[in-house]
Subunit: 96 residues, 10 copies
Amino acid sequence: MLFHVTMTVRLPADMPPDVAADLKAREKTLAADLQRAGKWRHLWRVAGQYANVSVFDVADNGELHDLLIGLPLFPYMDIAVTPLCRHPSSVRDGDA
Amino acid sequence: MLFHVTMTVRLPADMPPDVAADLKAREKTLAADLQRAGKWRHLWRVAGQYANVSVFDVADNGELHDLLIGLPLFPYMDIAVTPLCRHPSSVRDGDA
Amino acid sequence: MLFHVTMTVRLPADMPPDVAADLKAREKTLAADLQRAGKWRHLWRVAGQYANVSVFDVADNGELHDLLIGLPLFPYMDIAVTPLCRHPSSVRDGDA
Amino acid sequence: MLFHVTMTVRLPADMPPDVAADLKAREKTLAADLQRAGKWRHLWRVAGQYANVSVFDVADNGELHDLLIGLPLFPYMDIAVTPLCRHPSSVRDGDA
Amino acid sequence: MLFHVTMTVRLPADMPPDVAADLKAREKTLAADLQRAGKWRHLWRVAGQYANVSVFDVADNGELHDLLIGLPLFPYMDIAVTPLCRHPSSVRDGDA
Amino acid sequence: MLFHVTMTVRLPADMPPDVAADLKAREKTLAADLQRAGKWRHLWRVAGQYANVSVFDVADNGELHDLLIGLPLFPYMDIAVTPLCRHPSSVRDGDA
Amino acid sequence: MLFHVTMTVRLPADMPPDVAADLKAREKTLAADLQRAGKWRHLWRVAGQYANVSVFDVADNGELHDLLIGLPLFPYMDIAVTPLCRHPSSVRDGDA
Amino acid sequence: MLFHVTMTVRLPADMPPDVAADLKAREKTLAADLQRAGKWRHLWRVAGQYANVSVFDVADNGELHDLLIGLPLFPYMDIAVTPLCRHPSSVRDGDA
Amino acid sequence: MLFHVTMTVRLPADMPPDVAADLKAREKTLAADLQRAGKWRHLWRVAGQYANVSVFDVADNGELHDLLIGLPLFPYMDIAVTPLCRHPSSVRDGDA
Amino acid sequence: MLFHVTMTVRLPADMPPDVAADLKAREKTLAADLQRAGKWRHLWRVAGQYANVSVFDVADNGELHDLLIGLPLFPYMDIAVTPLCRHPSSVRDGDA
């Protein structure tokens, strides 16, 4: 089941650089794992923003929530979730 | 080059059903053609809305504009465009 | 799987009363059927508004979409969908 | 009498972890008590957010206010209150 | 139990003057009746707007809803409802 | 002359409790004085919010401003002012 | 007593030109009268908008309301009212 | 050439009182100078707000910008600029 | 003197095609004239929107207003005006 | 390919002056370099704001993103990106 998720990162201006670097490194590792596991189906950078547009493929709402709150940057992100479904005009197998 | 596009359709309440049906049929045919041509890379329905979330893959801003204003439903849609780029944490070939 | 849905009805001022009455009657019948089938789990009126707050219990995003676009009043409603999940502090069986 | 309440938690980034943990533990205990007492009728997590959607069943506006300001997390929450009433299309006894 | 209600009237530009006059006359009569019955506790005009600020005193949310949807101008009003309660700093008997 | 005023209090999370307590005590004393003087005509708590809805009865805009900036909590409040006047449908002497 | 008023005019697209011309002519005449009477103290056009920024000098809220609803274009205007008072840094006699 | 400017002051809660007092004193002196020079044509306090509504009379956009960024409180103000011009219905010489 | 102007066109759905075509043709001719005269300094299409971003170079606010209200599409456009000035980091002669 | 970019700078109130001065100096140098390289095509100050309106000319979305996140002030700016394309009514060579 697919969900459209936008994440905008807002790190406090006074966060020590090594703390920020550690958070980002752990976020990157987990994002790669979730992509390889097929849960984080798409991940794009929004041009000019410290933000991304993503599509998750999960079993249900609960799994989506667990994945998102498990992200190291979760406490510093504004997150918007939109449930998606098959579009009647879609002809691509990959969008189901 | 990728663009995130959301389209929300607002047909006038007094549009004759056959006019609406014709518009939708032509929109569907063109959407299928553009998907097969690789221009309209993703197309999902927003659950509970007469709206979609799409990703276009075009040569430049101008081609994106020409594709969107060429849609039969263009005069009846609210459209939001967001330029995307490769995310440094993306490991999927398909998101490039 | 639970979804929080708010629906605000906006009938055109010039809709003939019998058309409106027919729409509302069919909406009411379908709403009762969906409640009895366990799909439309909660339905409350927002005080002072021609609007409701609802909770749906469906198999997935697609079923939610099909139920909502099948409502007779769908073309005249502003709909907002929020995916819900089990709250860690919830002790009520009925909220699962 | 029913009220729809949404609560979004915004803990300061520099709150010591043990202070946050204590607040959350006390919030959880009180939430369980209020649910068992029938005052906090429904409690759901919003997927992807540190937020909940709730329904309270109280004697009047004053009791609702006293319950909400008594929550340990109250100073850190954005709260929105919407009064609900019986929907004419509701067929569920539990929504009265 | 007190509720703060704001009502903004938006009559269609093409409503025949006699229809508008009839609606307003019936609204005025009902407003006077509800004030005398103690249900519509306060009624003020917002300076420069076709809008009012009101305070209702009703038994519960359901009575408030029934009163508001019973207003002749209800289909043409934007209505916002805010539940009120006794303020701890209030010393006026009339605000209880 | 009547003004509708809403005040939402936002105390900094790190304000020392005794400073906050002193501010609130002085605010309460002054609010009582202004109510007894007939200047602060109505004062209600918004249910579920650290906010109030008030009606002031003052000689002119300048007196309203002086009263509001004189409140101990003024630096910590979001304030919205709406000028009111007699409603043509009002039958209550107390709303003039 | 001074009030800041912004007025944005929105004439229906299908209003007959002679009806619009008559409305505007009557508005202009009344605006001139009110300026000469000292009630409409300032009147400026917002560059690029069918809108104005004005300052009214009236006895009280009620007189302001009566003046504004008496404008021929009132039913077609969005109006925002802000009460003004003497600024402590003002040194101009004309702003009192 | 006239510009409508609104300024809302937001001093940090932890600014030392003497720093705030010095900023305000210098702001006041400069405001008086600019009014006497005819640059700051009007200056009113918004009732109930730490904000003002002003009209500037400058040679061009650049002079307006230089005046505004030169204000001691500039770093602590939200500023909105609206270009004004002569209104065709204005009969006052002072508004040209 | 430079002004940033955005124009979003909203033609009524029921405007006859020949009326729309005539409006657009006259708009295009005038736009070309104003560009050649150096008044309409820049004109770009917003990708995916029936909207443009423009920069005007005019003597003052009044000339800007006269140019904009003289556009054939003016009654059907949402227009936003922002005054620009020389940026201290600009090294391009053409932006002065 | 052209992009319209607005940047609003929000430096923390407690940033040391020398840190701010260094950031601004590096920003200015880089801005000049990018303008001379033809990447930063236009740069204007918004009158009365610590903000600019810019037009970038880049190969694609990715280059735009890299340029923007490379700006020394990037962590302190709100940035909005709008893709532009050739306007059919444009007659200026410089806007292509």
